[in-house]
């Protein structure tokens, strides 16, 4: 009977009930979506990289190294020599390694020089491997830039028709509208506008990765040697920037402009020579266990294959997790050159503490939204209490207990709150489902449409409990009213 009365009572006050319902619906939806986005942001942040035990780079702070190697934000001014890389990788505890050469860009997308080990061992999310939506990994020749155009390969010593393989991240492929088989030009520097285009080094897209929701999506992956090759030949002036391209971007750009003028070429050559000298002693012959597979075609085109002299950073997978700290210490104390080794999880945690303030802001916002809407609810209930005084006395006249009046008001308030919560869940789920494609396309955001979780349920429980507590004010008022009637 009380349900029937509550229903009729709510229907009777359609307008104010609808307004309260809408206010609660909006705020609960906001609350749920903010909380959902907050959780998704945090989890996608932590999902950026997984299964990597250590990231090694030239000595720097762990956040710097994490940002440059995983998030491709900023760049480490220093590199790791190939020699150091090889010596660390030679450690029996190391199961696999992914070398990374960073700092170049293609139309605003970061170019990552790496090897097939990247597609083999890189993990994100729940230890998920990268997979291809089209094409596949670097071909053995394309990885090293060893493929030559038979017609003029020998004729042109500057290796005009070398082919390099490119694997695109999903987002990069989507935005640039590239597909497998397309030939692209890779430019220098990390800016979107670059003055140096290596028109003489066509890159062929051999694969496009599946969407991952991580910075991998924005990546343009090429062979490690490809990067070395561009930098050391064709446009020799650019080789210098391999060393210090991020630290002296301005200088670089000027150089690039200069480089376009043929008559200044000689001048640039001197730079290159300096550079070569500097590193000639570090260029070690490739050991047998290198993850780079050298093509046997390299001999036929001596310019095509350039031995990598350095990498920006590399990721390590160890045979045993117990060895992580040991290797980390070894790397950090390396005598060859100053290096840093970071544990991704630890660095991610530290970085999240930095950007995590956003999380707290979101929490505060959602709490404020909830409080505002609950105040609205209690206002509506209190206002209706005045006009219900007569009605309450009628209930008493009819023989209703004061508790009936109390529970009637509570039932009305709770059903509004419950209805609003249920609709909010449906609304948020619907909006996420509908906007998922758009969010993915526009912002690269992949939100799980499943907002059901213990967390969501507990939030709804909090809403209902808060409603109950707030509705106590008018309900107890009505109860008292009912006690001292007439």
């Amino acid at each position: 009977m009380i349900f029937r009365v509550a229903k009729q009572s709510l229907l009777h006050r359609k307008v104010s009930v609808m307004l309260t319902f809408l206010a609660l619906l909006v705020s609960v939806s906001l609350l749920l979506s903010i909380e959902h986005i907050r959780k998704e942001a945090k989890s996608s942040f932590y999902r950026t990289v997984s299964g990597v035990d250590l990231i090694v780079g030239a000595r720097t702070g762990q956040i710097n190294l994490l940002l440059s190697s995983v998030f491709r934000v900023g760049a480490n001014a220093n590199s790791v020599s190939w020699e150091s890389y090889q010596s660390i990788v030679a450690n029996p505890q190391v199961e696999w390694s992914i070398p990374l050469s960073l700092g170049d860009s293609h139309k605003g997308f970061a170019v990552i020089g790496t090897t097939n080990a990247y597609f083999e061992h890189y993990r994100y999310g729940d230890k998920r491997q990268l997979s291809f939506q089209a094409g596949g990994r670097f071909t053995s020749s394309g990885e090293n830039g060893g493929s030559i155009d038979s017609e003029n390969g020998a004729a042109k010593m500057s290796a005009v028709s070398q082919h390099f393989d490119v694997v695109l991240g999903a987002e990069a492929a989507k935005q640039l509208n590239y597909k497998v088989g397309d030939e692209i030009i890779i430019s220098h520097g990390v800016g979107k506008v670059s003055f140096s285009h290596h028109d003489d080094h066509p890159f062929t897209i051999v694969g496009i990765l599946q969407f991952t929701g991580t910075p991998v999506d924005q990546g343009v992956h090429v062979g490690l040697n490809a990067i070395e090759s561009i930098h050391t030949q064709g446009n020799p002036s650019l080789s210098k920037s391999t060393m210090s391209r991020a630290s002296s971007k301005k200088q670089q750009d000027t150089e690039h402009v200069d480089a376009e003028h043929e008559h200044e070429h000689e001048h640039e050559h001197e730079h290159e020579h300096e550079h070569e000298h500097e590193h000639s002693d570090k260029a070690a012959p490739q050991p047998a266990n290198t993850p780079l597979e050298t093509s046997n075609k390299q001999d036929s085109n001596k310019h095509a294959l350039v031995q990598p002299t350095q990498v920006s950073a590399f990721m390590l997978g160890l045979k045993s997790r117990i060895a992580v700290l040991q290797i980390q210490r070894q790397v950090n104390q390396s005598k060859l050159e100053p290096l840093s080794a970071i544990i991704p999880g630890v660095a991610l945690g530290e970085l999240w503490r930095l950007v995590g303030a956003v999380e707290n802001v979101l929490r505060i916002i959602s709490a404020a939204v909830l409080v505002a809407s609950l105040l609205g609810l209690s206002t509506m209930l209190l206002a209706s209490l005045r006009e219900r005084r007569a009605e309450i006395s009628v209930f008493r006249v009819m023989g209703a207990k004061p508790s009936f009046v109390f529970w009637l008001l509570q039932l009305e308030a709770l059903s509004i709150a419950l209805g609003a919560s249920v609709f909010a869940v449906l609304l948020v789920t619907g909006v996420i489902l509908l906007s998922n494609d758009w969010l993915l396309a526009e912002y690269g955001l992949s939100l799980s449409a499943n907002i059901f979780s213990v967390h969501t349920l507990s939030m709804i429980a909090v809403v209902l409990i808060a409603t109950f507590v707030i509705a106590l004010i008018p309900s107890i008022g009505a109860y008292r009213n009912a006690r001292s009637l007439n």
């Binding site: 009977m1 029937r4 009365v5 009729q8 009572s9 229907l11 009777h12 007569a390 009605e391 006395s393 009628v394 209930f395 008493r396 006249v397 009819m398 023989g399 209703a400 207990k401 004061p402 009936f404 009637l485 007439n486």
Partner: protein, 272 residues
């Protein structure tokens, strides 16, 4: 006389027997127990200013009384004391031999719902509920949970009882599904009577029910009210300041005659 209500005291005695054994014995054994008995009643909202001071007043079963008096003489207060909404400071108010004030709150609510019907000047019905729901709600409040078989029996005849009650009150049969707020004031008051009588109360208290009605409607209403009260076997306390309604009653009393404070009060008021 007892068409609508054949053995209400028997029913009630059963449901109340566990808690009010002695009182129920009184009801069962002594048919002469008055419907309402007021003894040495003293009540005041403020300690220094008593509003009700009644030595002894009683109302027999099925008896109908017209109580009149100027406003402020304690009419509504007396009605609230009889219905147990207010508790006396001194003395006793017994309804069917039960001292209402001695009952616990929840028992008192139940007792009131089962034995006393009240109709006020206005606000007798929940405006957004249908006539049927209003009456059923009153039945629901009076319904004793320990009385399951009776409740089921009632369920089968509920609609019929409500319909015949509305018919007796000369209400159109199609008004049963209408919302209370959609009825005319006169119709609302009749539905209020139906709602008050549906639980077969022993006492029907009616407080200025006609003030919103015109003269013709008043007479019709009074006729229906007294007839229905008689056929429901309920004692009727009718309170009004309008003495023209007195002709519908055999027993007419001025509250100022019973209530000593009320008798004394107008004097100082006149002086000032």
């Amino acid at each position: 006389m007892s068409i609508l209500k054949n053995e209400p005291t028997g029913d009630d005695a059963k449901s109340e027997s566990q808690n009010h054994h002695i009182n129920d014995l009184n009801i069962a054994n002594n048919a002469q127990v008055p419907a309402v008995l007021v003894e040495s009643l003293l009540f005041s909202y403020v300690a220094s200013k008593p509003i009700i001071d009644i030595k002894k007043w009683q109302l027999g079963k099925s008896e109908q009384v017209f109580l009149y008096g100027p406003s402020g003489c304690g009419k509504s207060t007396l009605l609230n004391l009889i219905s147990g909404i207010l508790s006396p400071r001194e003395g006793k108010v017994s309804v069917l031999g039960t001292d209402i004030a001695s009952l616990k709150t929840s028992k008192r609510d139940r007792f009131r719902a089962q034995h006393i019907g009240v109709v006020f000047q206005q606000f007798n019905l929940v405006p957004y509920l249908s006539v049927l729901d209003n009456i059923q709600l009153a039945m629901h409040f009076a319904n004793d949970d320990s009385d399951k078989t009776d409740a089921m029996k009632k369920e089968s005849t509920k609609q019929q009882r409500i319909a015949s009650m509305l018919h007796a009150l000369q209400l159109p049969s199609d008004c049963i599904s209408q919302k209370a707020s959609e009825l005319s004031v006169g119709q609302q008051q009749r539905v209020a009577i139906a709602r008050a009588l549906i639980n077969k109360p022993d006492v029907l208290i009616v407080d200025e029910p006609t003030s919103a009605l015109d003269a013709a409607a008043k007479d019709a209403f009074m006729q229906v009210l007294t007839d229905t009260a008689i056929s429901s076997n309920a004692a009727l306390i009718f309170v009004s300041h309008d003495q023209s309604l007195a002709r519908h009653f055999k027993r007419v009393e001025s509250l100022t005659d019973i209530n000593y404070t009320a008798a004394a009060m107008p004097e100082p008021e006149r002086r000032t």
